[in-house]
């Protein structure tokens, strides 16, 4: 399995192969839709990873106290599929690791993955916006 650092942030060839269409219309429709939906999923994952206001809580306490590991795994599972459709390889790889960690209740790995999300998501978002602009989509 490739290390996330070596994976492309966004591989447009994957999107074109999945949709069977390389038109700017399809690319912008897919990427703008992905950006909208993925933002919602990432926000939920970031909420899971947020440290509690209480000082004695670790960053993953929200996961433990809310018994939300299964929900976290499901969020990652859905986001993984969405990433697979548009070629967001780096974020997809991270989702795979997060989903596995959540199902296995591996909190250190989950915490580490959620921290990585804080870097991978802005990188993905920046690339999405760049490609959308390159294809004539101005709402970035």
């Amino acid at each position: 399995m490739a290390e996330p650092a070596t994976l492309p942030v966004l591989d447009l060839n994957v999107l074109i192969a999945m949709y069977g269409d390389d038109s700017a219309e399809t690319i912008t429709l897919a990427l703008s839709g992905f950006r909208r939906e993925a933002t919602h999923y990432v926000q939920q994952l970031q909420d899971v990873g947020q440290p509690s206001a209480r000082k004695d809580h670790a960053p993953t306490d929200n996961v433990q106290t809310d018994n939300a590991l299964a929900d976290t795994a499901r969020l990652c599972h859905s986001l993984k599929s969405m990433c697979g459709l548009v070629g967001a390889a780096k974020l997809m790889q991270l989702c795979i690791a997060l989903e596995q960690a959540a199902w296995q209740q591996d909190l250190p790995t989950l915490q580490s993955g959620l921290l990585k999300l804080a870097g991978v998501w802005p990188e993905t978002l920046a690339m999405l916006n760049l490609i959308l602009l390159q294809h004539g989509y101005t709402d970035v």
Partner: protein
């Protein structure tokens, strides 16, 4: 009237299927709330239902099993991000006509629909 139904709680995935079928011969409908399946007026006109496995409230396999009991003539396709696990966990009485890995490409989707439609040409 649609004869193919996609069920997935994720709007983005449904919009992708819609885009993939654009210009094809298939008349598809899309449903985000699996529980609403039984209220759909087009239910009796359906020939194929494709359901995502992981949905809130009910799994794709549970929904397809209900469909098999209530409308056995409708062909059943499971779509899953973890197809191996989903197949392993299938209820023994559930019969699927096909299973697709999620995300599925336009090529895989059209191949599946063409096969289940008895060779109906995929594009107009």
């Amino acid at each position: 009237m649609c004869n193919i139904l996609f069920i997935d709680d994720d709007a983005f995935i449904l919009s992708a299927y819609q885009r993939m079928l654009r210009g094809s011969v298939y008349q598809a409908c899309y449903l985000q709330q699996p529980a609403q399946l039984w209220q759909q007026v087009y239910l009796t006109s359906l020939t194929i239902v494709l359901a995502d496995q992981q949905m809130p409230g009910i799994t794709g396999t549970e929904l397809l099993l209900q469909l098999q009991h209530n409308h056995p003539a409708i062909k059943r396709v499971l779509i899953s991000g973890d197809l191996t696990l989903a197949i392993e966990q299938l209820a023994p009485e559930l019969t699927l006509d096909a299973a697709l890995a999620k995300p599925c490409s336009k090529v895989a989707l059209l191949d599946c629909l063409q096969r289940l439609s008895g060779g109906l040409t995929a594009t107009t």
